[in-house]
């Protein structure tokens, strides 16, 4: 019996991974007349079932992984975490058509100019082999593709050439509560660019306020990359789901990739192509390269530098919150409407990027609290009234310094459902990064104190966690012993292998990475188009 997920005959390009990077590369190249096949390890989800997914995400009986079929029990998503700090990998990603945008928050800022030159400006990490100006037109294209709602009111943002495609979401009531305190402390607030429709755009409706953006937006107002996977198919691309790529095989010289070997629920196949693009995120991308070791590439594909998997970098969460006397009107929507980049540039309080966020979802949500409570009736209602109403909180992301010892390696002692070694995420947080987290906490406390808040919690260095942004594991640069791909995101070691992923970031900044992932993917697609 034939396998409906069998290989495509003689494609120009094989893209591995149908998240935002892969979907945008596939769509761009297909729309320019190239024959494209996309291999995606996860499911193609029926989005008409998103309300059921939303309910699963709210009801305490269901694990987070159930929402998007992660950790199904067959070992597909197995991993280990042997670093100083545990890394909850499967909470941090989704495998499927759309990738991790299926469960993402949807914040889409451009990186600042300094992020591309951290070595020159601050002696941190390496400079990128491209500048903000190089990426600037691609940022604009990415904003149009994703449908970004924003307004040009951020005095700290890098220059932009055109308005956002959609108007920004208006500030929340609680943003107004923060405003005076921020002015007192000297932290200027501004809007947040959201990949979320503030009005209908690209055949998707406007946000209707389900409040469950993360992990699922049943209205489809939040951008998810299955949008571009579908557009790629409309342009003639083939997207094959449940196709786990196990390794890439090179030709006899070892100079070019010849085929992707992938396994479906029914069979194992070889997909050939002229050009290959790995777009599997910051963990599975290096893993696939390492799994593709061969006689010609004994340390893994594209790994003559030894940098594949190294410099695994995250954004660290810093936050604080408590209660104020006034009602704060939280948990009506699941996204934020104001943030501040006031601490981002310069040396004070730290040269590392720091972004501050003003939450619209501080404190418990009554529905979730009710389903977890050990009471009901009038007693429960009294408890809910006591816990809801006066919470306030600030969050923030802090840049992590790249460290070669933070890495994704293969755990040779543990295998996945196909018998391949699983990724081992080794992660720690260094002292300079911890200092930056403490500095962010200090400003957060200053703002909350200026509001006369009773500060009830702080997330600082001891209990900080990752923002689920996997970066720098196949970073770009000039051909030397520390980088994997060049400025065009093409592997130094191979003639026809590109990488579209946050794994090519050189440093992390503190901006949510997906807009930069999208911009780089569009740029990669342009380079491949030129080459073909």
């Amino acid at each position: 019996m034939t396998d409906a997920r069998g290989p495509v005959d003689d494609p120009d390009v094989c893209v591995i991974g149908a998240g935002p990077a892969g979907a945008l590369v596939a769509y761009t190249l297909a729309s320019r007349g190239h024959r494209v096949v996309v291999l995606e390890a996860g499911d193609r989800f029926d989005r008409s079932e998103d309300e059921i997914r939303m309910e699963r995400s709210l009801r305490p009986a269901h694990d987070a992984g159930e929402v998007w079929n992660m950790e199904q029990g067959d070992g597909r998503d197995a991993y280990t975490s042997s670093g100083e700090r545990g890394y909850p990998l499967n909470a941090a990603r989704v495998k499927g058509v759309g990738g991790s945008t299926l469960h993402w928050q949807g914040m889409v800022m451009r990186m600042h100019e300094k992020d591309f030159e951290m070595r020159t400006r601050h002696g941190v990490g390496r400079d990128w082999p491209l500048s903000y100006e190089d990426l600037r037109p691609y940022y604009a294209r990415a904003e149009r593709e994703l449908g970004v709602a924003g307004t040009d009111d951020n005095p700290y943002a890098p220059p932009r050439e055109e308005p956002f495609p959609l108007p920004a979401f208006e500030p929340s009531y609680s943003d107004a509560l923060f405003a005076d305190a921020c002015e007192e402390v000297g932290v200027e607030m501004h809007s947040v660019p959201n990949a979320r429709n503030s009005e209908p755009y690209d055949d998707r409706g406007a946000c209707v306020g389900y409040g469950t953006c993360q992990p699922v937006c049943p209205s489809g107002a939040k951008y998810t990359a299955d949008v571009h996977a579908r557009k790629a198919e409309e342009e003639g691309a083939t997207v094959i789901d449940l196709a786990q790529v196990e390794r890439l095989e090179t030709d006899s010289t070892g100079d070019g990739v010849e085929a992707a070997v992938y396994t479906t629920p029914r069979n194992t196949h070889r997909q050939s192509a002229d050009v290959f693009v790995i777009a599997c995120g910051g963990v599975e991308t290096p893993r696939l390269l390492l799994l593709s070791r061969s006689r010609e590439h004994p340390d893994g594909l594209a790994n003559s530098s030894g940098a594949v998997g190294r410099y695994f970098t995250e954004h660290l969460f810093a936050g604080a919150g408590g209660t104020v006397e006034d009602r704060t009107r939280q948990n009506h929507v699941g996204f934020i409407t104001s943030e501040s980049h006031a601490l981002y540039d310069g040396d004070e309080p730290t040269p590392l990027g720091t972004k501050l966020e003003f939450f619209n979802y501080a404190g418990p949500s009554p529905a979730i609290e009710a389903m977890n409570a050990d009471d009901w009736g009038d007693g429960l209602l009294e408890d809910l009234r006591g816990s809801y109403g006066n919470n306030i909180a600030m969050g923030g992301l802090v840049e992590q310094i790249p460290d070669a010892e933070n890495r994704v390696a293969l755990d040779e002692t543990t295998t996945d459902n196909l018998g391949n070694p699983v990724p081992d995420v080794r992660w720690s947080v260094g002292e300079r990064t911890a200092e930056a987290i403490r500095a962010a906490n200090g400003v957060q406390h200053d703002v909350l104190k200026a509001m006369d808040a009773d500060i009830g919690w702080t997330v600082g260095p001891p209990d900080t966690g990752p923002a689920y942004h996997h970066m720098c594991t196949t970073r770009m640069g000039h051909h030397d012993d520390e980088t994997v791909v060049d400025a065009r995101t093409k592997a130094h070691d191979l003639d026809n292998l590109y990488i579209a992923s946050s794994s090519v970031f050189v440093t992390a900044g503190a901006m949510n990475p997906t807009l930069t992932i999208a911009a780089l993917a569009l740029r990669t697609a342009d380079h491949i188009d030129e080459e073909l």
């Binding site: 309300e51 059921i52 939303m54 309910e55 709210l58 009801r59 305490p60 009986a61 979401f169 208006e170 500030p171 929340s172 009531y173 503030s198 406007a206 946000c207 209707v208 306020g209 389900y210 409040g211 469950t212 049943p218 209205s219 006034d326 009602r327 009107r329 948990n331 009506h332 929507v333 699941g334 409407t337 619209n360 949500s365 009554p366 529905a367 979730i368 009710a370 389903m371 050990d374 009471d375 009901w376 009736g377 009038d378 429960l380 209602l381 809910l384 009234r385 809801y388 109403g389």
Partner: protein
């Protein structure tokens, strides 16, 4: 505050908006089973919901029919859980749960351990009752504006209440 058929349609979300016609048990193949569930849910809801909420058959019938049509496994799960509750009531009080006074019903559910049980559709008796009965009722109430307003939030999580309310003051 009386819970209405309209409140139940709101609580059902898209399923409630999409389906045509009235959500009455007469539209179901197993009309009797659904009617029995509604009748047996009323005395549980009277305990689980705050006293200022007036539980109505209209509300529960609409919600239950919507759930039966939209959630696989709901009918069997809720029916079995209500059987469990009744069986405890008969054994302990020699009467059906619905015939017990309000305080006794409350005590019986706590005796079963439902108040502290982790909800689990495949768990112990108490865990299944928590999942299929108590948390179904809580989800219906507190993810809809009628329940949210009791606490002070007219657009609770899970309800598509638009993008105006988050901007309004108290």
């Amino acid at each position: 505050m009386e819970l209405t058929r309209r409140d139940a349609l709101v609580a059902l979300g898209g399923a409630g908006a999409a389906a045509g016609g009235a959500y009455t048990v007469s539209r179901l193949d197993d009309e009797e089973a659904a009617r029995g569930i509604v009748e047996r849910l009323v005395p549980v809801a009277e305990v689980v919901y705050p006293s200022q909420v007036e539980v109505t058959t209209d509300f529960l019938e609409t919600y239950v029919v919507g759930r039966i049509e939209d959630r696989e496994g709901y009918l069997g799960g809720v029916s079995d859980s209500l059987d469990t509750i009744d069986s405890y009531a008969v054994n302990l009080r020699e009467e059906a749960f619905r015939d017990a006074p309000h305080d006794a019903r409350d005590s019986l559910l706590r005796y079963m351990g439902v108040d502290e049980a982790e909800p689990d559709p495949d768990g112990t008796e108490a865990e299944r009752v928590r999942y299929y009965v108590v948390n179904e009722l809580q989800y219906a109430l507190y993810t809809s504006p009628v329940g949210g307003k009791l606490v002070g939030i007219e657009n609770p999580v899970g309800y598509p209440g638009g993008t105006d309310t988050y901007r309004r003051g108290p």
